[in-house]
């Protein structure tokens, strides 16, 4: 089943709009899909090419009377890769793009669901035991707000988290939240992240489930 190549007209748009439109369009497409972007100035051509190349997509540009046609083939990695200054460092397991079909979980609370806090804690523990037992581990677990109580010392699900982390799941905790709850020193699984990276992860993910 092949999709018709999509076309995006960014003519007349000033920087940074063409990059944002291209990014949005690519985010909605599956890997290997083609997107044709039309721009009418060299700045937009360079910026869109820079963005797409660095995000792991392939770009072919042709010029026609001062207008540019950019044929972009979406790569498998929907994420901005770490920029390499010199020789390419070995990929850390952490930096691997999420494999297809794997789910990213955004966890915004240390309790699962509204209602009794005790029940919420039991349900959260049960969720993590189930998650850790799945055949395909989650692509990423992202903890924000009181969710960071789950990735720090004293968490009831630390054992499951560490198991998933060792199995290739990226575990990220929001730095602002760790600061707010004074937990930065107590991070016990994964690493500190920021809203910018979190947003990139969510945008680049195949599938996101929010646990609140």
């Amino acid at each position: 089943m092949s999709q018709a190549p999509r076309e995006l007209n960014c003519k007349g748009l000033a920087c940074p709009q063409p990059v944002l439109e291209t990014k949005k369009a690519l985010d909605e497409l599956p890997a290997e899909a083609e997107l044709t972007v039309l721009v009418d100035n060299p700045v937009a051509k360079e910026n869109v090419t820079l963005f797409a190349t660095n995000a792991g997509h392939r770009v072919e540009a042709t010029e026609n009377n001062g207008e540019f046609i950019l044929r972009i083939t979406k790569g498998r990695a929907g994420l901005i890769q770490e920029r390499k200054g010199g020789p390419q460092p070995q990929d850390k397991p952490d930096e691997n793009p999420p494999a297809r079909g794997r789910t990213t979980y955004l966890i915004t609370s240390n309790l699962f669901g509204q209602g009794s806090p005790d029940l919420g804690q039991v349900l959260m523990k049960s969720l993590f035991v189930s998650l850790a037992g799945q055949e395909v581990p989650p692509a990423a677990l992202i903890f924000i707000n009181t969710g960071v109580y789950l990735s720090t010392e004293g968490s009831p699900v630390l054992e499951q988290l560490q198991k998933m982390s060792a199995g290739g799941t990226t575990v990220l905790s929001c730095g602002t939240c760790l600061d707010y709850y004074k937990l930065k020193e107590k991070l016990a699984a994964g690493r500190v992240s920021n809203m910018y990276e979190i947003l990139e992860r969510l945008n680049g993910a195949e599938k996101v489930i929010t646990i609140a």
């Binding site: 920087c15 700045v43 360079e46 910026n47 200054g85």
Partner: protein, 328 residues
Amino acid sequence: MGPATLAQVLRQLPLSQDPALLVGLHTADDAAVYKITEDLALIHTADFFTPVVDDPYVFGQIAAANALSDVYAMGGRPLLALNIACFPSCLPVEVLGEILRGGAEKVREAGAIIAGGHTVQDDEPKYGLSVAGLAHPREIITNAGARPGDLLILTKPLGTGIICTAIKAEMAPPEASRAAIEQMTALNAKASFVMKEAGAHACTDITGFGLLGHAAEMASAGGVSLVFHLHTIPLLPGVMELAAMGLIPAGTYHNRDFLNEQVSFDPAIPPERRAILFDPQTSGGLLIAVAGEKADFLLKRLAEEGLGEARVIGRVAEKGESLLRVET
């Protein structure tokens, strides 16, 4: 305005032959310098632009710090400032009040006085200042004195153009916006003061033409070549990632296209890293050429004055094939 267009327009202006005009159009320096008496020179400059941030008060501070910087880059002390403002009738006048309040605050911090100004109705707000400063004629530091063997020190990290583009795109991480705003509102007063202590040979502030644009003016005015070491150049947080995402302002490409033939890059340097060096800076730092043996002293004094992000980023060489060389 891009450097290519500007050069073309300025070429048509007659150059003054008045011997009292110590610095004029011909060296593309930051400000004009006019010798009034044997021990007093007037430094005169003007700079204004459209908002780079949403907060009018912060914009006022940034525009004023940017205009005052031209006097500091010449080794002078600001004395008087005149507001230059354009403002649309459709915006509440309180916004203009906030812009002017921010500007006045920076001028006061610089120890200067706002003595008046001029406001024009226009479609888009613009603000800046014309600033007059004073210095002893012998203490003037132009962009022309760099000597082979000098080291180059940059006093503020690069990246405000890219971060402001990312702010417009709502893609800027908060720590990047914060750092950029903090740096754009910071005066170059202390950097200017300590570079005189260290006997700096040449100086320019890094603004619209980017690091390499202003460096090219310094190299050309001094008849030397400048060599930069990419990994030592300080950057604001997030700048490398944002550049790699293509959040690069048009001015960066104008600066690059104007200069490209005069810069030789190590071929291993990727395009987005090059772009950062051409990125137009708002109220950027000072690029100072100082004798090699004085560089440590200057860095130490800069750090003592709270400018801990200043770094040695390159050196001055005999005039070579390229005006500028960038190594990894």
